[in-house]
């Protein structure tokens, strides 16, 4: 058996052992998400526009992650709506920035890996860069949206008559706790994986100026920043969606 299979089985076993049914479903959603990611690349390689593919696949990935991860429908629905809104806003930010900064595709550092490859493949790499940036942030957006929506729905359950303003303050204060630790997840997640590149930069004595203008470095930092912006935006947007739903519920009850 290959290493990936065994590691996968170990993870499945542990998730089921500790998480029970929730754990097994979570593992399933991971597999689905992998399938969707691969599907996204294949669709783009068949010539579908990267933006459209990202939008469709992103919508499905968010649905799988949020509805499989959270049993409480009261929290999952607003979390999903908020995550979708943030995804669309992020696309509107990412698209112009990627066109401005031109950090798409490959750089001289990739030369060795590109040997013998045809680069003129007729697919816009700016579109691919936008797709990469959006898809890599979705996990963080979904996680933050769930956490805030779950926290707020717990509060609503205990104080059904809470005012919208109070709810907003609570949402922001939950957000404050989440953002600190999520920053770390993102920082280590992105930069831990790029240790080799940083050793390359230092070993070949790149100047500070070359590093901050380097295509790969910029592309990587942008992904972290977009993910941060996404998570920051999730806080007020989720709170806002929960507040509106709550108000509608209250009217309905009257």
């Amino acid at each position: 058996m290959s290493t990936i299979t065994v590691l996968g089985l170990v993870l499945l076993g542990l998730m089921t052992l500790i998480g029970g049914k929730t754990g097994a479903t979570a593992f399933l959603s991971l597999i689905f998400n992998f399938g969707l990611l691969f599907l996204a690349v294949v669709l783009i390689s068949w010539g579908f526009p990267a933006m459209a593919v990202t939008l469709v696949i992103g919508t499905i990935i968010l649905a799988f992650t949020i509805f499989f991860g959270e049993d409480n429908e009261m929290a999952a629905r607003p979390a999903y709506i908020a995550a979708l809104i943030v995804m669309v806003v992020l696309i509107l930010v990412i698209f112009p920035v990627e066109n401005w900064i031109m950090a798409q595709g490959f750089s001289l550092e990739d030369s060795e890996d590109l040997e013998g490859m045809s680069l003129a493949i007729g697919v816009s790499f700016i579109g691919v860069a936008v797709a990469e940036a959006i898809l890599s942030t979705l996990g963080a957006i979904a996680e933050a949206a769930i956490a805030i929506a779950a926290g707020l729905s717990e509060i609503i359950e205990q104080h059904p008559l809470i005012t919208a303003k109070r709810l907003y303050i609570d949402g922001i204060s939950i957000g404050k706790q989440i953002i600190g630790t999520t920053f770390n997840t993102l920082f280590f997640g992105f930069f831990g994986g790029f240790l080799a590149l940083f050793i390359w930069f230092s070993g070949l004595h790149y100047s500070f100026g070359s590093v901050i203008n380097n295509k790969i470095f910029v592309a990587e930092v942008l992904m972290v920043l977009f993910a941060l912006i996404g998570v920051i935006l999730v806080v007020p947007v989720t709170t806002w969606v929960v507040t509106i739903e709550h108000r509608r519920q209250q009217k309905h009850n009257d």
Partner: protein, 370 residues
């Protein structure tokens, strides 16, 4: 009233910081003097020719040629104007078109004018703008409490830099020891900044280190049992040292943040629980911890999974369009990200019982209500 003044003061300070930041972003347009490389600004662009190309895999693309007029902004050739031919493809994998107003790096050979080449785009203004955007949003929504997060990221980046220097000095000889120690220091520093030095911090720290450590041990066992079949170290990018240790260290560092994130959540909730119900039994504390962890782990594993996998998009696409089949494309591009995601996942899951158990054991018998 006092409250109002304080809030008002905070808001105005936020706006001042945000505006100053934007001015700073604008100033990067005029920082050519700080660069060692020659910087020039594009003043005029003229399209020259275009042709369509087809490669051996039937990929159709367009190749364009433009003549770019640039004015040098710094160094010995300051003020000189050059006309440079730039060829680019529509897909833009390795090349790009230049627009009027962009700043670029030039290479000016000492002998003659004709061989001046553009070395790349100056991206610092755009990058500074996005940094500013993230910072401004954080300040506007979170006010100054969001800054602690930035501080910890900044300190960690410094440590990271220092460790890389040490690694280079020792030629990667002690990479496990070096980055193992670094991971522990990262965890301690970050948690100290987030939680302050307290019993809660110690428990969280213990859970983080133990969870990550156990995941590494399990992975190494799996590696030796399966003889690392399908782990294609040769496909690792940007490698200048022995790839295997580098890969393992990357994996540990990559998952560290997520494991900390989760342990923090679980331990904080359990301490809260103990404050609300001081008479709760440790067995019950353990059970609650598992229950909290259950709902966090799925989304958290997903966060890392998407980060690790999305990174490989461009290369995967290139492989597919260059006539490689799905299996080979996956093996060469995505399999390492997959192994990384799985090891991180194992760490994230294992941290749940460890954090719950440590919390149930090490929690003070009586937590005084705050």
């Amino acid at each position: 009233m006092k409250q109002w003044i304080r809030q008002h003061w905070q808001l105005s300070l936020t706006i001042v910081v945000v505006v100053l930041g934007l001015i700073g972003v604008g100033l990067t347009r005029f920082n050519a003097g700080l660069y060692q490389q020659t910087v020039a600004q594009v003043t005029q662009v003229r399209a020259q020719s275009q042709s369509s190309t087809t490669d051996e895999f039937e990929n159709k693309d367009m190749t364009y040629t433009q003549v770019v007029t640039v004015k040098v902004l710094n160094k010995a050739h300051r003020g000189r104007i050059y006309h440079i031919k730039n060829t680019y493809t529509r897909s833009g994998a390795m090349d790009q078109s230049y627009r009027v107003g962009s700043q670029v790096f030039l290479r000016i050979p000492s002998d003659q004018d004709s061989a001046v080449t553009i070395q790349g785009l100056k991206r610092d203004t755009a990058l500074a703008f996005v940094v500013w955007l993230a910072f401004a949003l954080l300040l506007l929504i979170m006010r100054f409490s969001g800054l602690m997060a930035f501080l910890s990221v900044g300190l960690n980046a410094l440590l990271f830099y220092a460790a890389i220097q040490i690694d280079l000095m020792t030629n990667g000889g002690h990479i496990y020891l070096l980055f193992g120690v670094l991971a522990v220091v990262f965890a301690a520093l970050t948690l100290w900044l987030v939680l302050g030095f307290s019993r809660q911090m110690v428990v969280t720290f213990g859970a983080t280190v133990a969870g990550t450590g156990l995941a590494v041990i399990i992975s190494l066992i799996v590696f030796s049992v399966t003889h690392e079949r399908g782990v294609t170290y040769e496909s690792m990018q940007y490698v200048t040292q022995v790839p295997r240790p580098l890969f393992l260290v990357e994996t540990i560092l990559g998952s560290l943040g997520a494991v900390m994130d989760e342990s923090t959540d679980i331990v904080a909730s359990l301490f809260q629980l103990k404050t609300e119900r001081p008479d709760i039994e440790s067995k019950q504390v353990f059970k609650s911890g598992i229950k909290i962890g259950r709902s966090i782990m799925g989304p958290l594993i997903n966060v890392l999974f998407l980060i690790f996998m999305a990174d490989t998009f461009a290369m995967t696409l290139l492989y597919l369009r260059n006539g490689n089949n799905w299996g080979y494309t996956f093996t060469m591009n995505m399999s390492l990200g997959m192994v990384q995601s799985l090891i991180s996942g194992i760490g994230i899951v294992l941290a749940i019982p460890v954090a719950s158990w440590l919390a149930s054991r090490l929690m003070p018998r009586e937590v005084l209500p705050r």
